[in-house]
Amino acid sequence: MAETVDGKKEDADYKRLQSFPLIRHTDMPEEMRVETMELCVTACEKFASNNESAAKMIKESMDKKFGSSWHVVIGEGFGFEVSHEVKNLLYMFFGGSLAVCVWKCS
């Protein structure tokens, strides 16, 4: 029993400790990266239950800010191979279990 309680605590800790947004791979310039990351975080928090709307929000904002055309994938389990314009890719983790991949390719 104590173990499960500990396990739960650990889980809670893990959730707390590991829900910060973490960039896994990117080749964006500094400013762009920061902006995009914040946008993703905002979108994911806003549409915590609906990945599609979050992705839609991210994609539209990116299109407006940095030009067309952006592609966004949000999910918990997927593999991908994409062609992207150089210096326009962001792949990050968020919320401990969510992975967001944003890239530009017209």
Binding site: G77, S83, E85
Partner: protein
């Protein structure tokens, strides 16, 4: 045109229906008129029927029925001159009195018809103008000018005239043909990226990140102490960057300096590159030397050139050693580097404590310069370093020479890859110096043999002055040393006790001895006894001997031919020989400096067809060899003569 009506009364006794003729009876006589009209109409329409109908009085149905008495009543009609249509009650606001006031006098004019005429009075302005125009048009313009001028109005009118009498002339400038230009930019570069997003990958990555952060926190705490160092470093970097601005300017300034020099010495530069003396064809075998730049340095005025050396890597850079040959006039010395690109100022300047006697630039590392000084020191300078001081100096070394160092020569790197060079000096020793880390390590190679004329007990005291040293080009261990007594000793680095050969070369000081760069057995020597001698190392006596009328101070082989060499003498002349062409005479004997200036050094440029000569005033003169002096032999004739 108004016709004034006389006010009058007209009595009319006519029948009431005739009253309808009156104009003023419009309102009353509407019906009467109406009747009359009908009558007239009847008359008019039935003009043809007049005779038929006659006078039948037709009563309109709506005519007033009047009694006889009323019909016979006389009605007075009054004709007035006033306009019945004119308003009779016009009121105007009077500002003076502040109220509306009726205007008494109303305009009674009624205009029935108006027609504007186009007749102009002859005497009026317009009339006169028109007449003038007419006259012009009739007589065709120019002839009538005086008449027109007479009329004052004509001046202005001329412009008007031109309006109607003008020429139109059009021209079309050349329009550039329209061109279509289209451009396609390159699309932004693309790259592929692939990854997998799984729960465990995410988890792993987070864990890693946390670990990394912990580590960096620990480092960070340890780095608080280093922060101050960083700050000071930053300050230094800032200061350096400030210096960089000036140093960047220095580079630009240097380039401009060279450009300005090139402009000033443009003709010399052109000669250097392109001038080929055409008159050489007519001169037979003889050639000439064309003076190019003269290199001099203000602060070196009192010094004489003692050594010259070309840089192997940068063919336009050469080193000049300045000092003094006189025993009594020893002062400081200088080491200067000039480049042909900037003849007015040396590139590098080094001051030395005593006069420079000899110098040598390393064959491969062209920034290492070995210098031998009059006081017996040897020093090595590194041109890459900005300092004025040599990187090595044998000043404090125990094995340093006790007398002037006459010649230094770089050797190949030894087994430990240390650079080393060999020096010969007036104390009769050949010493090898090795550059080990921060010091010069000396190794004695050999001591010059004492001549026989010196008594035995003084043999250790009085040394044989070595004056010149040269190493064989191919057989690196074999070398030649010239002495003050006129002997040339051939030695080998492997034998440290004895010399291999001794040649009785000159009666006086041997000033230079040099191996032939092509032929393995030939070397040349020159001395104060006015002679230049060419030797084969296997033979005891010289192969060629040339007498040059004054002391020969330096001789050099040409790098492009095995049979060409040049010598300089104290009378300021340069002698160029080509054994291939003439075995007995010089091809060129030319005085290149002003009188009473002695020439001390000569060097051929390894690439360009120029030579530099140094004189005792501290000047270096560059000369271009004319084509006759530059003939390359088709095959090595020097072998043949043996």
């Amino acid at each position: 045109m108004s016709v004034s009506h006389k006010v009058g009364t007209m009595k009319s006794k006519q029948a009431p229906n005739v009253n309808s003729h009156q104009k003023a009876a419009v309102a009353k006589g509407v019906k009467a008129i109406g009747k009359k009209k009908d009558e007239e109409e009847g008359l008019d329409t039935a003009e043809g029927e007049e005779w038929m109908q006659g006078k039948t009085l037709v009563k309109p149905p709506d005519q007033l029925d009047l009694t006889e008495a009323e019909l016979n009543e006389e009605i007075t009609r009054v004709l007035k001159a006033s306009n019945p249509n004119a308003p009779q009650n016009v009121v105007r606001y009077s500002f003076k009195e502040g109220c509306y006031k009726p205007i008494v006098f109303v305009d009674q004019m009624a205009i029935h018809f108006e027609l504007e005429g186009n007749l102009v009075h002859k005497e009026s302005d317009e009339g006169r103008r028109l007449m003038a125009k007419q006259a012009e048009v009739d007589d065709g313009g120019g002839v009538e000018r005086p008449d027109n001028v007479a009329i004052k109005a004509a001046k202005r009118e001329q412009k008007l005239t031109n309006q109607f009498n003008f020429n139109e002339r059009a021209s079309q400038t050349l329009n550039n043909t329209p061109r279509d230009i289209s451009c396609q930019t390159e699309p932004p570069p693309r790259a592929n990226f692939s990854a997998t997003a799984n729960q465990w990958e995410i988890y792993d990555f987070y864990v890693e990140e946390l670990q990394r952060r912990e580590k960096s926190k620990e480092k960070h705490e340890g780095q608080f102490l280093n922060k101050e160092e960083d700050k000071s470093k930053k300050k230094m970097i800032q200061a350096e960057t400030q210096n960089d601005d000036i140093s960047q300017l220095a580079k630009a300034v240097k380039i401009i300096e060279r450009m300005v020099n090139q402009n000033i010495f443009d003709d010399v530069a052109q000669d250097f590159m392109y001038f080929e003396d055409a008159s050489d064809e007519f001169r037979g075998e003889k050639g000439t030397l064309l003076p190019l730049w003269t290199f001099q340095y203000d602060k070196a005025k009192s010094l004489s050139v003692t050594a010259l050396c070309w840089n192997h890597k940068y063919n336009d850079l050469f080193a000049v050693g300045l000092g003094s040959h006189e025993f009594t006039q020893q002062g400081g010395g200088m080491l200067l580097f000039y480049t042909l690109k900037n003849p007015s100022y040396p590139e590098f300047i080094f001051n030395t404590a005593s006069g420079v006697m000899c110098l040598d630039i390393h064959e491969h590392l062209s920034y290492l310069v070995a210098v031998g000084l009059y006081d017996g020191c040897v020093a090595v300078y590194n041109l890459k370093k900005k300092t004025d001081q040599p990187i090595y100096n044998s000043r404090a070394s125990s094995g340093k020479h006790t007398s002037a160092v006459m010649q230094v020569k770089w050797q190949k790197d030894d087994l430990d890859s240390n650079h080393n060079f060999i020096s010969v000096s007036a104390d009769g020793r050949l010493v090898s110096w090795t550059l080990v880390k921060h010091e010069l390590v000396f190794t004695e190679i050999i001591k010059l043999p004492v001549i026989d004329t010196i008594p035995d007990d003084l043999k250790d005291v009085i040394p044989t002055v070595g004056t010149s040293l040269d190493f064989h080009k191919q057989k690196d261990y074999s070398f030649l040393v010239g002495t003050e007594h006129g002997k040339i000793h051939k030695g080998s680095k492997y034998y440290s006790s004895k010399f291999l050969e001794k040649y009785d070369a000159h009666f006086m000081n041997v000033t230079r001895v040099k191996w032939n760069p092509f032929h393995p057995d030939v070397f040349i020597s020159c001395g104060w006894d006015w002679m230049v001698k060419i030797w084969d190392q296997t033979m005891k006596s010289p192969v060629f001997t040339f007498e040059l009328k004054t002391s020969v101070t330096d001789v050099a082989w040409a790098p492009y031919s095995s049979t060409v060499f040049a010598a300089v003498t104290t009378d300021g002349k340069v002698h160029v020989f080509d054994l291939n062409i003439n075995k007995y005479e010089a091809l060129c004997q030319q005085k290149v400096v002003s009188k009473k200036t002695k020439l001390f050094n000569i060097e051929f440029n390894p690439v360009h067809p120029i030579i530099i000569v140094g004189d005792d005033r501290g000047h270096v003169t560059s000369l271009k060899l004319s084509p006759n002096l530059r003939k390359k032999p088709k095959f090595n004739r020097l072998n043949q003569k043996f």
